[in-house]
């Protein structure tokens, strides 16, 4: 048996915190938060749906920053961050679309509709799935990183479109509950629901950073392997 390194211990602590926060979030969302006056119990899906998309946005912001930094400084760690964040962004966007479909059926009567916000979110998922595919299709690592960085930056501009789509076009999707230009979150959402939402969001953030640290380290170790193989071959 070997003792855990400080880095591994930190990851373990983050993982344990995420698990505890997720358990609390589940309990709060399903048992403590009151049902909505109009939508009833089905509104509880909001405690998953909103944190999922906000986590996805955060992930794509990291892809944007990592990609821009890589194109500027050409440091591999920035590319590693962008790659890891893109994978997680795709995961959380896919979850958002699934949760939205399940919420849409009892409230709108359909699983899916070609509404501006839904369509733009689907496009966001396609862009970053394309980002991951692009990386695996180009053999030259540097060329793959450069092409992916350009796509990672362009793709990010879909996010303001998604956010503003409910104001710019007539859509079925409701306006934002939290990030509204005209109202503070506590003016729009009941405090009991806002508490559940805040707990869920913190839990998703902890989970996100735990998964990101694992995924980033996988990429880092893969690079060390390539460097060692290259050194042995030389």
């Amino acid at each position: 048996m070997t003792p855990a390194t400080p880095l591994k211990r930190r990851k373990g602590i983050l993982g344990a915190l995420a698990a505890m926060a997720l358990t609390l979030a589940l309990f709060w969302s399903l048992a403590v938060a009151p049902p909505d006056a109009f939508q009833g119990e089905v509104q509880r899906i909001m405690y998953l749906h909103l944190p999922s998309i906000l986590t996805a946005y955060l992930s794509y912001f990291l892809v944007f920053v990592g990609s821009a930094m890589y194109l500027w400084k050409r440091e591999r760690r920035d590319d590693l961050l962008a790659h890891a964040a893109a994978e997680l962004g795709v995961l959380f966007t896919a979850l958002t679309i699934i949760e939205g479909a399940i919420w849409g059926k009892p409230t709108w009567g359909v699983w899916w509709t070609w509404d501006a916000r839904l369509t733009l979110t689907a496009i966001l998922l396609l862009i970053y799935t394309g980002y991951l595919m692009l990386r695996s299709l180009i053999d030259d690592e540097q060329r793959a990183a450069t092409a992916a960085a350009i796509l990672g930056i362009i793709g990010f501009f879909d996010i303001p479109l998604i956010h503003m789509s409910v104001y710019w076009w007539r859509t079925l999707h409701q306006p934002p509950s939290i990030l509204r230009p005209d109202k503070a979150p506590w003016e729009n959402v009941h405090p009991a629901m806002l508490t559940a939402l805040a707990i869920s969001f913190v839990a998703f953030l902890l989970l996100y950073f735990y998964l990101l640290s694992l995924r980033y380290r996988v990429g880092e170790m893969r690079q060390e392997i390539s460097a060692l193989k290259l050194a042995r071959g030389a």
Binding site: R44, I45, L91, L95, I98, L207, L211, V218, M221, I225
Partner: protein, 51 residues
């Protein structure tokens, strides 16, 4: 399906997807870590031989 049915479906899918992704990621992590350790020990042995 009733309201709680939709809620259970959403929460169930999210929990399952996150759990599966975490398991896959952990496996990838262990696989790459093992390969790296193996290569590092070989590399150290090689450099000792060269010296």
């Amino acid at each position: 399906m009733g309201a709680w049915g939709f809620v259970s479906l959403a929460y169930g899918i999210v929990c399952a997807v996150i759990l599966v992704y975490w398991i896959i990621l952990k496996r990838r992590y262990r696989k790459v870590e093992t390969e790296l350790k193996h290569l590092q020990s070989e590399h150290t042995a090689d450099s000792h031989e060269t010296n």
